[in-house]
């Protein structure tokens, strides 16, 4: 912007007059008062939009769910571990029963080990999940006991064969190896354990 002295001041006056401004108003920039007001209005609107956008960005970010996932993962690991440790008959745990099943052996004076293991595991899961065990004919979890490769036993699955969760994802426990004859793992809907 040129300094408004000497010859320039007359040019400013003529320019301002041509733009519809007041005659005595020539010491400011080459805008009329009306134009200046419009520009300030525009600036205010832009500033407001920037502020609103910044607030939106600040609060629109998704909440961190890592804490919940860690808790569900730990709960699933504890669930498998607790089930394996529990006694299914005096002196024998579920882990002992699965080992016997894997080795085509028998414990707890049970004839059908597969049926016995399924029944006891189901009882434990029902006791733990309570009312959440089954909803509308669907189970929000899957427990699998896989025999080792080459075994004549078939896989035991309790809960959903194909687990699908209405909300949230699926969280698996780690696969617990049982005496190299089988492994046990549970998968639950994240929402079930929260």
């Amino acid at each position: 912007m040129k300094r408004k002295t000497g010859k320039n001041i007359e040019k400013w006056r003529l320019f301002n007059k041509a733009q519809g401004g007041r005659r005595d108003c020539c010491l400011g920039p080459p805008f009329t008062k009306a134009q200046g007001g419009e520009m300030i209005g525009l600036l205010v609107i832009v500033i407001l939009m920037v502020v609103i956008f910044a607030v939106y960005i600040r609060f629109s970010s998704a909440p961190d769910s890592k804490g919940e996932e860690a808790r569900v993962s730990e709960a699933n690991n504890y669930l498998v571990s607790s089930m394996l440790n529990s006694n299914v008959c005096p002196g024998k745990s579920l882990e002992d029963a699965i080992k016997a099943w894997g080795n085509n052996d028998k414990v707890c004076q049970e004839g059908n080990m597969e049926q016995f293991i399924t029944q006891e595991a189901e009882t434990m899961l029902k006791a733990y999940f309570g009312a959440r065990y089954e909803k509308n004919g669907k189970h929000p979890f899957q427990l699998t006991i896989k025999p080792a490769e080459g075994s004549s036993n078939t896989e035991i699955t309790i809960g959903e064969k194909q687990l699908a969760c209405e909300t949230g994802g699926i969280m698996p426990s780690r696969a617990y190896s049982i005496g190299r004859v089988a492994s046990m793992q549970v998968k639950t809907c994240v929402s079930l354990q929260i």
Binding site: L48, V55, Y78, S81, S82, S86, N87, M124, A127
Partner: protein, 184 residues
Amino acid sequence: MKGKKGFIHNKKGVIEMMETFMIIFVIFILMGIGMFFYFRASVSESKDVHREVCLTQTTELISAIAKLTDINCKDKHPCIDTAKLEAFALKSPAEKSAVLESTVCRKNITIEQIYPAPDEKGSCVGKQASPDFPKNCNTWQVFSVKASDVKGKAGEAIAIPITLYYPTKDEYGMGKMVITVYTN
């Protein structure tokens, strides 16, 4: 701009002034609405942060309790020895607070027996010697806050499975640790 008859006689000036006041008024209203929503979101966010901190602390506490030498089993994990648990449950609140109290949020910790299914419900404290144990009871209150401290606060229960060891029978059962966290 003094006129002959009144203080202001320039109609255009009056209109422009009114326009300016109206714009300032609208801007203030917009700023007020913006501040209202900002503070509301801010309060809501701080509550969420508080809840998240409580729940994270609880997750850490679950691991800590499972490893607590005062109550855990020697050879299995996660496992709680019911005889040790009874002794711990009988400790004074001050002694338990030193181990379990959190500065961020208050909580109740209960251990429930679920497998084998108990025949009776109620506290297991003092029932270990009974021949019917562990079927004659189902809970151990590990830690509890005063009801007056959590009056009107919403409780959020977190349950985690745990192995229970019954030394009088030398058997293991399944239980769940229920932590009720008072977040708000």
